[in-house]
């Protein structure tokens, strides 16, 4: 087995849209690859492998010794991606019959090689691989590997393959390291569960169901005293883990995002595990989600960014206080412990989420709908006696979002979907009317939606698009501007990246309005008005 087999896996993951198909591909990798190969592969899939010895310039220099510069330039121009160009163009040397390297050999080779030895090492490997293998190798060692699956999905596939719970894998994950031999031994029933010891580990989060069904609402209505309410903030859910073994900030899916928020790591001078919401907060006011986005997915965080987009965490729950696991205790008890803990430690950039007092659900409903801050998505309802359990257990926690905003927009373009929807025009771009000073009107695209409709509505829209096409641009069709869609969305924000000047958050299609003439669709000003309304 070699880099070649891993390259085949990567290639299929990149092109396969379906989640289950991706899982099937990864399961086969865990089932068929020997140790330590499968573990190194798992590390590559979960983004745990990193190399610093091979730079992209090294690849550039290597290929220059073998390929005519004009042909290389023409090829790069055509292919677009430089690593892919090199992988495809690399001329094999006659008579090379060495076996291609295994992933483990690549890892070991790069660790042991001095900087001066790396070019010859890479050149030798490139000569033994085919184009797919060369691409995987180049991307792997230069740090540009794009895996067509998230780390979470790779762990899900591992869990399914082993017949284990994903939560169990996440608990031990941060106590194991590539090539994960003890992990695989445990999963195959040949060894003990790896002990994470002091290492900071992620504990799967407790999640909520949307509160929609009348029966569920009625059940809460009947016993309001059994429930506690908090604001549902529009940030990102995080878990804070700090102790002698280190400090970590985890995303909802167990990704380590500590690096992007150094000021929070600084605040974590305690020994506990907390659940909370990461937000941008200025002078006590929570900023819209778009502000938080400025801080996400960044490699380098400068002082200006930290100053302009100051982050804080609203604490929802206390999971571990020191070594003491509180997760089995009722919510009320944990909440009291959280308040006492916060009073004792008072960590900077963190505050306990406010509890909302209420006598009845109708009180709450009024509060929810009159909340003016754009960063409030709605309310959380938690059973007073609920333990902290991983995943989405029904009946313990509810999220109760406020009613969405809505506009009637005109369908302008449609694009075919992916995977199971590849034969359907299922992505819809819609627009609103802009009126100019001279009284003329024009439709301006304001957003794109690909959900919210029923299967029957999708079939109807697909046929309508095919029968009313006025132009084609690759996978996109322009349609007659005559069909009205009722679009709902959670918030509207000003945006200079959109021609309309406004961006919608999570737009989806609520209803088809074949009865409504396009002339009577909403104006762009209506949508702009909604920005102000929610900006508070």
């Amino acid at each position: 087995m070699s880099v070649q087999a891993f390259a085949d896996l990567l290639e299929r993951l990149v092109f396969t849209p379906g989640r289950n198909a991706k899982i099937a591909l990864m399961r086969r990798w865990f089932a068929e690859q020997p140790d330590p190969e499968r573990g190194v592969g798992l590390a590559a899939l979960t983004g745990e492998l990193s190399f610093t010895t091979a730079k992209p310039s090294l690849i550039r220099d290597l290929v220059a010794t073998r390929v005519d510069p004009v042909l290389l330039a023409l090829s790069h121009d055509y292919v677009g991606d430089f690593a892919e160009t090199v992988a495809l163009i690399w001329p094999e040397r006659e008579g090379v019959n060495a076996a291609p390297p295994t992933l483990a050999e690549v890892v070991e080779g790069l660790e042991l090689a001095s900087r001066a030895e790396v070019p010859a090492l890479m050149e030798g490997w490139l000569d033994t691989l085919d184009a797919g293998g060369r691409l995987a190798l180049i991307k792997l060692v230069t740090g540009g590997l794009r895996v067509g699956a998230s780390a979470r999905l790779a762990k899900t596939a591992l869990a399914e393959w082993a017949g284990q719970d994903i939560g169990e894998i996440e608990e031990v994950w941060h106590g194991v390291a590539p090539p994960y031999l003890p992990l695989f031994r445990w999963l195959e029933g040949k060894g003990p569960r790896p002990d994470p010891k002091d290492a900071p580990v992620f504990r799967p989060l407790m999640l909520a169901h949307p509160l929609e069904a009348p029966a569920d609402i009625a059940a809460i209505e009947a016993n309001p005293n059994d429930w506690r309410a908090e604001w549902k903030w529009d940030g990102i859910r995080v878990q804070i883990t700090a102790g002698p073994g280190g400090r970590r900030l985890w995303s909802r899916t167990g990704e380590d995002i500590s690096g992007a928020f150094p000021e929070l790591a600084e605040s974590m001078d305690f020994h506990a595990v907390l659940d909370g919401e990461l937000l941008v907060v200025r002078d006590g006011v929570v900023a819209p989600f778009s502000d938080l986005q400025q801080r996400l997915n960044r490699k380098v965080i400068g002082p200006k960014l930290m100053r302009d987009y100051p982050v804080a965490v609203r604490l929802y729950d206390l999971l571990l206080d020191g070594e003491e696991d509180l997760r089995a205790l009722p919510f009320d008890t944990r909440r009291a412990r959280l308040e006492a803990w916060a009073a004792r430690h008072a960590p900077p950039r963190m505050e306990v989420s406010e509890m909302i007092r209420f006598a009845s659900l109708s009180d709450l409903s009024v509060l929810r709908d009159t909340a003016r801050e754009a960063s409030i998505e709605g309310l959380m309802l938690k059973r007073a006696d609920s333990p902290y359990v991983p995943g989405r257990v029904k009946g313990l926690w509810w999220k109760w979002k406020r009613a969405p905003l809505s506009v009637d927009a005109v369908l302008m373009y449609a694009q075919r979907g992916h995977g199971k929807r590849s034969s359907y025009y299922s992505d819809y771009t819609f627009g609103l009317w802009r009126t100019y000073e001279d009284g003329t009107r024009e439709l301006v695209p304001v957003g794109k939606a690909y959900s919210g409709f029923t299967d029957q509505e999708l079939i109807f829209l697909d046929r309508w698009v095919r029968n009313h096409t006025t132009g084609r641009f690759g996978p996109v069709r322009e349609v007659e501007k005559s069909f009205v869609l009722e679009v709902i969305f959670d918030a509207a924000q000003l945006s200079n990246r959109h021609r309309s000047g406004v961006a919608m958050r999570f737009p989806r299609i609520a209803r088809l309005r074949p009865d409504k003439p396009a002339d009577e669709a909403d104006l762009l000003e209506t949508l702009l008005g909604m920005v102000e309304k929610r900006a508070g």
Partner: protein, 357 residues
């Protein structure tokens, strides 16, 4: 030899080669739509190419008079000696060798060098001028062995037994080659065909190319019919998976067999789940190898990446000339004209899909 808006014209012989519009006298290299067009007067081609033209255009539109010329035989027209040689591209495809006043030009048409069980292999012939295509004339195009790609397909069928694998392939040549390669790899289950590729498969078999058990993809299924053909291989024109026709199939894995699948971005753009690099055109190494074998001091490039090829020839001291023939696309590309439409697509559009997922 002249380059005209219709393509290459042999002045002393008084005939065109693969003209893009109807002419009085034409030699046709092979049956793809960008080379063979309906409505010519006299047509000279191999017997198989003439049969393909009759099947595609109808008896009355495949040329007013048809003259078959088998491979290797020579006839003389106005003092020009004409010989057709196998080009290895599709069944009946020919290189056209013309000799006049002691010099020889070989117009290769589209060609490939690797073995194809459905057609005769390319025969190199030394000449003074060699006219070549350059569809894949960039050094990034080096097609892997066909057996490797077929193994990837069969491997995927084994991994996803609950899904139908739909291979997008051009109706003439690629379809039959894939079927023959699957048979060689031991796949002996029936292979299912979209209506648009059926006719040419039947023709290939009647011309002596065995393809094994072939069945049409069932039509006219009732609404709510469960998805069909899980675990089977279906061959369809490249665009069919994007049409309502595909909705009857069990969670289809979209495969595309084309040389363009070498480049990831192109495969991504077309929404292909399993790209298969199987091409009926010479790749970069094969183009250069062929040009070396025919030992022609001058190379004319009809269409494709002539810039890269002419540059590579200049490095070898060979004179290259780009002809920039218009209307000469690549049948593997999406924009190329497809096989004549059948009632299938229209049927499919009328059929109610089962559900939209």
């Amino acid at each position: 030899m002249k380059v005209t808006p219709l393509g290459l014209y042999c002045e002393p012989g008084g005939f065109h080669i693969d003209p893009s519009r109807p002419v009085d006298r034409a030699i046709i290299s092979h049956g793809h739509a960008d080379h063979a067009r309906p409505g010519h007067g006299a047509v000279l081609a191999t017997p198989d190419t003439l049969a393909i033209m009759r099947a595609r255009f109808g008896e009355d539109r495949a040329g007013d008079s048809q003259q078959p010329l088998p491979y290797g035989q020579t006839i003389t027209s106005n003092g020009v000696r004409i010989t057709l040689l196998p080009a290895g591209h599709v069944l009946g495809s020919a290189q056209i060798a013309l000799e006049w006043q002691g010099s020889r030009i070989v117009i290769s048409g589209d060609y490939k060098r690797r073995r194809d069980p459905t057609c005769a292999g390319f025969v190199p012939l030394e000449c003074d001028v060699f006219v070549t295509e350059a569809t894949f004339a960039l050094p990034v195009f080096r097609h892997p062995p066909d057996s490797h790609e077929i193994r990837r397909l069969l491997d995927s069928v084994a991994l996803f037994p609950d899904r139908a694998h739909v291979v997008g392939a051009y109706a003439l040549g690629k379809t039959q080659r894939i079927i023959a390669l699957l048979r060689e790899a031991g796949w002996d289950r029936p292979i299912y065909l979209h209506g648009a590729v059926e006719k040419l498969c039947t023709l290939y078999e009647s011309l002596g190319v065995p393809l094994g058990a072939l069945l049409p993809v069932p039509k006219g299924l009732k609404r709510g019919h469960p998805p069909i053909l899980a675990g089977e291989i279906v061959i369809a024109p490249p665009s069919a998976e994007a049409t309502p026709w595909a909705r009857r199939l069990a969670d289809p894995v979209t495969c595309a067999a084309s040389g363009w699948m070498t480049v990831r971005q192109r495969a991504k753009l077309k929404g292909v789940e399993l790209p298969l690099i199987i091409s009926d055109h010479a790749d970069w190494d094969e183009l250069l190898e062929t040009i070396g074998e025919v030992r022609a001091p001058e190379i004319w490039v009809t269409h494709g990446r002539d810039d890269a090829l002419v540059h590579a020839l200049s490095l070898r001291g060979i004179r290259g000339r780009a002809l920039h023939l218009v209307g000469r696309g690549d049948e593997e590309d999406e924009g190329a004209p497809e096989a004549p439409p059948t009632g299938e697509e229209a049927d499919a559009a009328r059929m109610e899909p089962r559900s939209a997922h």
